[in-house]
């Protein structure tokens, strides 16, 4: 696969989300609309002012909708953008210029460029970095001025390959992936939030390709299985891609045959395969018969809304929806895992090293007022299905007892209020802090263990999840990580505590056989990976150790 043809080029990067996509290239950095090209001399300043007001209003609405859909990091960034857009001071210079006869796009671009220059001139890194938000605002409003109502990415051709240095969560979420498409990035990381979004949505993605001149590329093929990208493929490459696509489609067709059957290895060993979900609406697209339940339901989504922290009723409805969907299958809901890379405004604490700070259960125990609302909602939802509740970031045995005590107190409180439809579900823990995996026998107050392989790996290997430079060090199949997985599985067996794994390692087909060989029999994976993982389990022989 050497370079053939004039411009054709093959690049190797890191596989971030599986799948194969082929399509026209859209350069991420070139999508900014410049005002000069789109402007005619305005006849009527009043009409221009109204046009700007409408674009600002549309931008506010777009951001508000996005904030509901993105993770905490992105939501915080967008909250700032939203506040800026809604502040009349931001557009005041533009309004003055328009009143003086300037066209709205030219006036707004000049006003924002001046503000951006002000941020860039700061000697404070933090303020300089915020200039990126102002660039986002400028581009969004200019786009809305040239095409009213248009969302970012709405001018992309169908099935486009987005290529560039990196991609923001908002750009990913505003892209229409219904007709396929993929992502090819010079930088980025398979552990980034966008990569997680891509895996959940089934969008092929490759990161770490090195500098690529995306604006000069016309078409590309992205292979998210092998981390390969072909830019401007020649006829031979395209034929190869076609053959690969046909083979993968045949494999996927064969894989789908495994979807509605329980997973079983070639040697007959049953494996429980559950799904990870981040929002209750995700289950609408999944047939519950295709999985053995929900191994991890995250609850951070509840804390994204502009209305602040959610009340008990909102939470209760979200949990009940998923329990009813599961129709008796096990549903494991994780209590709020804020902190670390997931700050929640108004809740988490600013720390120099948040991954080693007050996150997960530590924060919940520090803020029992908020934790109790969640526990009350969970106790009420528990009567609607087979609920398990899981605590994140446990590192001290007494954290389980303290959380359990709060849970019991909440249930008594509910009964005292006359609410009888409550139940105390089993309370288990995430095994992600190495101290738990090293001495799991100290944590048997937990009713079950769920290995969070992403955090366990980053803590064991001291390799951050969002750093491309150390991504090769932070491998879930490092012998040290596998030894801790095995220790946890053995401790669970000895004490009759179910053990599952809910990190990305469970759907990494290179790692999964090694996990099963060490005795793991329950995994929880992205819904998009169900068919692939179940089919591959069916081909595994455990005696051969993958």
């Amino acid at each position: 696969m050497a370079q053939v043809g004039r411009q054709a080029e093959m690049r190797k990067g890191r596989a971030a989300s599986p799948g194969l996509a082929s399509g026209p290239v859209v350069a991420l950095e070139a999508t900014a609309i410049r005002a000069e090209a789109t402007t005619v001399r305005p006849a009527d300043p009043a009409a221009e002012l109204a046009r700007l007001a409408q674009a600002l209003e549309d931008a506010s609405v777009q951001l508000s909708v996005l904030i509901e859909r993105v993770d905490e990091d992105a939501a915080e960034m967008l909250e700032f953008q939203l506040a800026m857009i809604e502040d009349e001071e931001l557009s005041a210079p533009a309004v003055a210029a328009i009143t003086g006869g300037t066209a709205a796009p030219v006036a707004f671009e000049a006003a924002l460029d001046a503000a951006i220059a002000g941020y860039l001139a700061s000697d404070d890194d933090y303020f300089r970095a915020r200039s990126a938000d102002l660039v986002d605002i400028r581009n969004r409003v200019l786009r809305l001025l040239s095409a009213p109502g248009a969302a970012e990415g709405s001018q992309d051709p169908k099935g486009a390959i987005l290529a560039g240095v990196d991609i923001t969560p908002s750009r990913f979420l505003e892209t229409d992936w219904s007709e396929g498409g993929g992502i090819a990035l010079a930088e980025g990381s398979p552990s980034s939030h966008v990569a997680m979004l891509a895996r959940a949505r089934g969008v092929p993605m490759v990161t770490g390709l090195g500098a690529l001149d995306a604006a000069k590329r016309v078409t590309a093929i992205v292979d998210g299985e092998t981390g390969t990208v072909w830019f401007d493929p020649d006829a031979a490459m395209q034929a190869q891609h076609e053959a690969l696509r046909t083979r993968r489609a045949r494999e996927a067709g064969a894989a789908r045959a495994y979807l509605d059957k329980p997973a079983r290895t070639a040697c007959g060993e049953p494996v429980s395969v559950m799904v990870n979900i981040a929002e209750p609406d995700e289950v609408d697209g999944i047939d519950p018969a295709h999985c053995d339940g929900v191994g991890l339901m995250r609850t951070e989504f509840l804390f994204h809304g502009p209305g602040g922290l959610p009340d008990e009723e909102t939470q209760y409805r979200a949990y009940r929806k998923v329990l009813e969907w599961a129709a008796g299958r096990s549903v494991t809901i994780r209590t709020l895992d804020a902190g670390g890379d997931k700050p929640v405004p108004g809740l988490t604490i600013a720390e120099a090293n948040p991954f080693l700070g007050c996150r997960g259960i530590r924060l919940s125990l520090l803020r029992p007022g908020i934790f109790r609302i969640q526990l009350r909602a969970l106790a009420r939802a528990a009567v609607h299905g087979n609920l398990q509740v899981m605590l994140p970031m446990v590192s001290q045995p007494d954290e389980i007892e303290r959380a359990g005590g709060l849970f019991d107190a909440c249930i008594e409180e509910l009964r005292a209020e006359g609410i009888e439809a409550v139940r105390r579900p089993p309370l288990g823990i995430m095994v992600e802090v190495p101290c738990v995996a090293i001495t799991p026998e100290r944590f048997l107050a937990a009713d079950f263990f769920s290995i969070g392989s992403n955090d366990l790996t980053q803590y064991v290997m001291a390799a951050g999840r969002d750093s491309a430079e150390v991504a090769d060090i932070g491998r879930a199949d490092d012998p040290a990580v596998l030894a801790l997985v095995e220790a946890t599985v053995r401790a669970g067996e000895a004490a009759k505590r179910p053990v599952s794994l809910c990190g990305d390692a469970g759907s990494d087909l290179a790692v999964l056989p090694k996990l099963l060989a060490r005795g793991l029999r329950r995994v929880s994976i992205a819904p998009a990976a169900l068919a692939r993982v179940k089919a591959s389990i069916a081909a595994m022989r455990l005696d051969a150790d993958g």
Partner: protein, 99 residues
């Protein structure tokens, strides 16, 4: 007299100063009061509208700044109390229920 101007000040201890998230919280809180509220990184100004995130961000107040507030109008005292508490609590309040 409704034109009386009340003042208050508080030490800003937030790690990265008055950056995006604290500014969002501060301006949102200020907007819940009908009183006119201004903020300044020093006793002698420059005073800016505490309800404008563009202006508040432009003060670029670093950690260790003594933030000065002044307010006038009907809810002036309540606005000052709330804003000082927000800064004192390192911008962690406003969730309504923490302990």
């Amino acid at each position: 007299m409704s034109d009386v101007v009340l003042t208050a000040n508080v030490l800003l201890e937030h790690e990265v100063g008055l950056h995006a998230r604290p500014s969002v919280k501060l301006t949102k809180l200020a907007k819940t009061f009908s009183a006119a509220v201004e903020v300044s990184p020093g006793p002698d100004g420059p005073w800016v509208d505490a309800k404008s995130i563009v202006k508040v961000m432009a003060t670029r107040a670093p950690k260790g700044t003594i933030l000065h507030f002044r307010a006038s109008g009907e809810t002036a005292q309540a606005a000052l109390d709330a804003l000082v508490k927000l800064v004192e609590d390192d911008f962690e309040t406003g969730t309504g229920d923490t302990d």
